[in-house]
Subunit: 252 residues, 2 copies
């Protein structure tokens, strides 16, 4: 089983290294990951500047990888098109430090890397841990490795991937796995206005999560209930239901 592993927190992040070690137990892992943090880069690609690729190794055990001066989606593209001898059996992206839930997946580099895998016809999963600080990635890594095996064995339909979010709690606190739909995530007070040391104004994007009324079967509610959330994701953005209505608009 040949596994392509990437992330958006950068190749030095603890999340990818935990997953790297866990996946090495079940298959042949090639890591191709960004050289630095590329959080919230969505499905951005680098087309207006060169992309550097070099080797990067970790120890205990010694594992070597490709470090890319680009986005998560760049990493999947360059892995499939240049670096790997053959298409991998699965693309795994993560483990992200921080959840990727609901409408926030639109901004997620982690999820977008998995989408890119699916665009190449490769089964893919994205994995995130529901904490912003010092997570223990072991449960998420173990679940991801098991799920990767299941996905390769059972197959996914074309143009589909799985988005996994894992609660940041001890193993005995997790109340099972829920198959979910994406919820809605909104933020209040998104921008903070500040002054730099020279008196010039700037903004910093932040914001507090607004508690939406999300359905019981959403990823957001599952994580609140300390369940591992698995959401099947597609990326066909056509709103077919609206095509007839628009045809009546007589746009000609």
């Amino acid at each position: 089983m040949r596994i392509l592993l990437t992330n958006d927190d950068g190749i030095g992040a603890p999340g990818i290294q935990a997953l790297w070690r866990a996946l090495s137990n079940i298959g042949q892992v090639t890591v191709v990951a960004p050289d630095a943090e590329r959080s919230a880069t969505s499905q951005a690609i680098t087309v207006h500047q060169p992309i550097r690729v070099d080797e990067y190794c970790i120890t205990e055990p010694k594992l070597c990888a490709w470090r890319v001066g680009g986005t998560p989606t760049d990493c999947v593209k360059i892995a499939v098109e240049e670096l790997l001898p053959a298409k991998p059996d699965i693309v795994v992206s993560g483990i992200n430090l921080g959840p990727n839930l609901g409408t926030d997946v639109l901004y997620s580099g982690t999820v977008s890397a998995a989408i890119e895998g699916a665009l190449y016809g490769i089964p893919a999963i994205a994995v995130s841990l529901d904490t912003w600080q010092n997570g223990d990635f072991s449960i998420a890594a173990g679940f991801a490795a098991k799920l990767a095996q299941t996905v390769v064995q059972k197959k996914l339909p074309p143009n589909t991937l799985l988005n996994v979010n894992v609660p940041a709690v001890a193993a005995d606190q997790i109340s099972g796995v829920a198959v979910t739909k994406l919820g809605v995530r909104q933020y209040a007070n998104t921008f903070e206005r500040r002054q730099d040391p020279r008196g010039r104004q700037y903004y910093w994007m932040g914001g507090q999560i607004v508690e939406n009324d999300n359905d019981a079967d959403t990823d957001i509610v599952a994580i609140k209930n300390k369940q591992i959330s698995v959401t099947p994701i597609h990326f066909d953005l056509t709103n077919y239901g609206l095509m007839n209505m628009l045809s009546d608009w007589q746009l000609n």
Copy 2:
């Protein structure tokens, strides 16, 4: 009619300036656009560094705008949350120099800005011209202004936007407007390997479009037939059809 206008080619690009002038004839336009080119940034947001905003004016007629050191999606966010006195009636993004067709919309900053508008509950359209060089934006700008009026008058369902691509031909060469679905766009030879002046290797992402068998009702075929393509877009990435299948996988 209050219009928020943005793009991903940057505020100095001819495409947005043509649209700015055209939209000024039909409503009160506020331009909030990136300070430089942000092509292919998808729905990336700037969360790990500050965002600068300053004033930017053009002449004949004199029009002033907000110039943002961020992505197209940042522009829509900061416009709605900080810069505008009230939600606009419509978000218009473009005119992009280059088409945004088929699966390529996943990478598009132009389309993502319109998605961000729809996330705020604002009707939105993205407009692109099917040429990479020195386009004549007048036809696209005229069509976009007419469409913006129609959208505000007829309304769009929630969580929906329109993706418009305009052929780069003279007005009498355009064979009408087609309501389309997204096609599939693939590239061959995506990466060129090169050496820098110091002998170090780098990659540049490029690639030639592969001719896919796209259905007759896709945006890609419409543009080939010199039609203006209008595709209704949604952004609910849940694959509902797969939820039952996954429940049978017994992931617990």
